[in-house]
Amino acid sequence: MIARKGNPYMERPALRVTLIPIASTLAGSATAIVPIIATEPIVPPFGLMMLLAWRLLRPEIWPLWMALPLGLADDLLSGHYLGTAMILWTVAFLVLEWVDQLLLWREGWIEWAIAAVALPLLGVGAWALSQPIGSHTPVLSILPQTIGAILLFPVVLRLTARLDSWRLKR
């Protein structure tokens, strides 16, 4: 029997280590309930941006299915039909698995580029899945928040890196 105590390979990770990525993504989704009343979508989807940033910076922390519960929370907070973000975010994770195998080189610029492709696609997907039948919302209504999201993504990446170094601090 190997003693758990004092053995660096058997120690359980602190709660902080697992909780911070999840909590920060939920906090990002919770920007949907900030006390601003907007008649048009102007605030970038911070939940999705946090999720992408964690996934790009630390691909190994989450199993593939982690996007499901996080997407469900995002759907509940944003009032979209249940399943919208669940589907889109999990598909994004699957595609990112493939992208991980494809790319041989990683840099901040490349991560920004991946996000700049992913954010508009997921935005259009969310538009398509969340609209009721007979809706008149044009797809271009997602343009302002998507531009904002792409421009803000490096900031979110930095923030995530900060959180990550705090998470792994001894």
Binding site: G79, Y81, L82, Q131, I133, T137, I142
Partner: protein, 291 residues
């Protein structure tokens, strides 16, 4: 930096099974999500309890921050009013003179209206508001336009009820939690309000566009029914919305369609009144002939 190679399968059976299980759960999850979406299409009120709990939980956080935002906005308004004081004073004086004349005229019309209503013995079944509550937040990130109202099923608010502010119609209750509910705003793509133009009485249908405006379409094809500045009010056709509630003002005319901007700005309405679903008075049914 070379890309890190994670998800290495290696020779460990445990890691291999773990990875495989991850893929299986993800695929099953996507299918479950698709099923949820399908249920939402077929029955929009499904999972009402779960969604209501989420609305309640969100309202807890939103309500706290709302007072601070109100204070900030009021300060901004005060500063801009101070800057524009001189020119505004003159303008307001002119407007006051005009408004006084209009007021006298409208009083005369009101008196005549009462007289005519008495003559025709017309009784209107206009519902009284159930309660007024605060609009405390909205979803500024998503593609749907919702606001959060600080009253729920415990106050008698049910999905389908209409919400209006002193300026005009705000929207309908979409789903309600115990002490908060979600209001579908006029600008959401799902909203369709039967309206009429006050100038001509022309019936039309106003639908939300998701970008802060509504599209107004005349029910009768052809012609040029709209003008810039036209006031759009509810017609009460089909029930649900109380007649003669101000809805929007036409800002752009495109042939037989028009783009209108809602009158009630939910961001500025401190309080909103909740009305029960309007049911137009049923005309007397013809008596059953005696056999």
């Amino acid at each position: 930096m070379a890309a890190p190679r994670h998800r290495r399968r290696g020779f460990s059976r445990r890691v291999q099974y773990g990875l495989f299980a991850g893929y299986v759960i993800a695929i099953v999850g996507i299918l479950a999500g698709a099923a949820l979406l399908l249920i939402a299409r077929l029955d929009p009120r499904a999972f009402g309890t779960l969604r209501g709990v989420a609305v309640d939980a969100g309202a807890l956080f939103t309500g706290v921050g709302r007072s601070g935002i109100d204070g900030l906005r009021d300060a901004g308004d005060a500063i801009s009013a101070y800057v524009a004081a001189g020119s505004q004073n003159e303008m307001l004086r002119e407007e006051l003179v005009r408004a006084r004349r209009a007021l006298i005229r409208s009083k005369a019309i009101e008196a005549e209206n009462i007289r005519l209503k008495k003559l025709s013995r017309l009784s209107e079944h206009l519902p009284a508001p159930i309660l007024s509550a605060r609009l405390i937040g909205s979803t500024p990130t998503g593609q749907r336009r919702f606001a959060t109202l600080s009253a729920g099923t415990s106050d008698g608010v049910r999905p389908g009820m209409t919400v209006r502010s002193p300026d005009g119609l705000v929207g309908r209750v979409y789903e309600s939690g115990i002490f908060a509910s979600r209001v579908l705003l006029l600008t959401d793509g799902e909203t369709a309000v039967p309206v009429k133009i006050t100038r001509s009485g022309q019936a039309a249908l106003a639908t939300g566009q998701g970008d802060g405006t509504m599209e107004v379409r005349a029910l009768i094809a052809g012609g040029n029914p709209f003008r810039r500045g036209d006031l759009v009010v509810t017609s009460g056709t089909g029930g649900v919305y109380t007649p003669n509630t101000p809805v929007a003002v036409v800002t752009v005319v495109r042939g037989d369609r028009a783009i209108a901007r809602p009158l009630a700005d939910p961001a500025r309405a401190d309080f909103a009144m909740v009305f029960p679903i309007f049911q137009a008075p049923v005309a007397d049914l013809p008596a059953q002939p005696k056999p």
